[in-house]
């Protein structure tokens, strides 16, 4: 008897071990594969480059620590670029943990940008429940939705929010989104209803569902999809970070998966041929 395909399958612990090594080793010993930029990433970069210095922009942190490895480097690169260009960043969060994610990035960047002052160049307005309705309400009366910042201080005390009544004087919105509520809701309301330029970053798995919004109507001005896009952005702003170092690990992990797919197919076809031959006998 040739045995079934299941009998011939590799013990999955070997797969786990190889994946572990394929991820861990490149993280310790960097290979340094070259990074090539794609159109969607360049569009995001251009949008920020073209925004006038001193403009107020909204960054929405719609993710939690589960998606941190992919979205955090994007957040870091985008905020870095905004501060570099002299843009004033207003942080909001549609996910409760997004507040801490933004604070981590801001505290990491304060050393590089000591001139950035809380309340003047940056503010964190915290989390607000409600998803799409929150965005809708921000578009009609921003101050009613966020009367205070994350520390409970009145927003009237902060120069960065002077004149911000709705989305009308917002340069662009950038949503770092791990799901719902997130970038889709920003597109549906902030862009489609209020016409604010919009872009965002999403995890690799959710990218196929969001890519249709990058279209001629510019519902999204480019899109950062997954760790590779984060690495590309780091490359564009010449600030290598965790995404760049993670690219080697991701490359090797993908290669291992492809090798296993090939092995799985070879096993399937050889077993099938043997079974057929034995059947004929």
């Amino acid at each position: 008897m040739a045995g079934t395909r299941k009998d011939k399958q590799l013990d999955r612990r070997w797969i786990f071990l190889l994946i572990f090594m394929g991820v861990a080793i490149p993280l310790i010993f960097t290979i340094g594969f070259p990074i090539e930029t794609t159109e969607n990433v360049r569009l995001v970069n251009e949008m920020i480059d073209k925004t006038t210095k001193g403009s107020k922009v909204i960054m929405s942190f719609d993710y939690d620590p589960a998606s941190k490895p992919e979205l955090h480097p994007m957040g870091m690169a985008i905020m870095n670029h905004c501060f570099e260009k002299g843009l004033r960043v207003i942080v909001v969060a549609l996910w409760p943990m997004g507040v801490q994610m933004a604070e981590e990035i801001f505290s990491d960047l304060t050393e590089k940008y000591p001139q950035v002052i809380y309340g003047e160049d940056y503010i964190n307005l915290g989390y607000k429940a409600g998803g799409i309705v929150t965005i809708q309400a921000m578009g009609s009366n921003f101050r009613e939705v966020f009367p205070k910042d994350m520390n409970g201080n009145e927003i009237d005390d902060f120069p960065i929010l002077r004149g911000v009544e709705d989305f009308s004087n917002i340069g662009f919105i950038f949503s770092l989104s791990a799901g719902d509520p997130g970038i889709k809701q920003w597109v549906q309301v902030a862009h489609d209803k209020y016409g604010v330029p919009l872009s965002g970053g999403v995890t690799g798995v959710s990218a196929p569902a969001i890519l249709p919004y990058v279209n001629e109507q510019k519902q999204l001005n480019g899109l950062l999809a997954g760790l590779k896009a984060a690495a590309e952005y780091e490359f564009l702003i010449e600030t290598p970070g965790t995404a760049t170092s993670g690219m080697d690990a991701q490359s090797i992990a993908h290669l291992i998966i492809i090798v296993f797919i090939a092995i799985g197919n070879i096993t399937y076809w050889t077993t099938r041929k043997k079974v057929k031959r034995e059947g004929e006998k």
């Binding site: 994946i19 090539e36 589960a66 998966i257 799985g264």
Partner: protein, 231 residues
Amino acid sequence: MKRKIPLIITFAVGTLLILSEFIPHKPFGRLSGELENWFLIISGFAIILGQLSLFKVNIIKIKRKTPNWQYFIITLVSFMIMVLIGIFWGTEKNPGIFGNGQIIVDTIGYKPFDYLFHNVYQHLQATMFSLLAFFIASAAYRAFIARTVESNLLLFAAILVMLGNTSLGSSLTGWLPHSLSFLHLPRISEFIMKYPNTAGQRAIMIGAGLGIIGSSLRIILGIERSYLGGK
């Protein structure tokens, strides 16, 4: 009457919100703005309701000693610890009822809530998500088999996108001359994502959009009543 009043409210509010999209002037615009505020307030309460529900569901499971009931105790204990230390000593910049817990901050470097958030919660969540890599690899090995034309197409597209989405893909075909640059793996990956994928996704989105309109109308008109509970 118990069912009629919610149905009337749903009909009135639903109709009003649809009208306000087309007539954003008084009184529709203002009323819809007011209703948005109501929604935000109710959403805040929904979080509390969710926490109470979490408590209730877990306590019932522990009482009934359902399989793995010990894990539900861990859930509740973890939940209580985070809630209580948040109330007692607050978070990063907000004091709790016992102030800022300066002695604890001097000892561990963070407030207790932030310490657990940075050192326990974040890593637990990242670990859970990272485990996917192992299971995806194992599942791909078992399930990605070229049995039919469709599965061949899927397999081929998946491999191209997987390679194109890494720096390795750029290195593998980076040497190609300019005239053959359309064969460059990142280009192929971009093409697959931009055209076949977008076309398929748009079809799904249009279908889902029509479905949402249909089910919303059913709710507004009182045909769909399952949200009221009961039959």
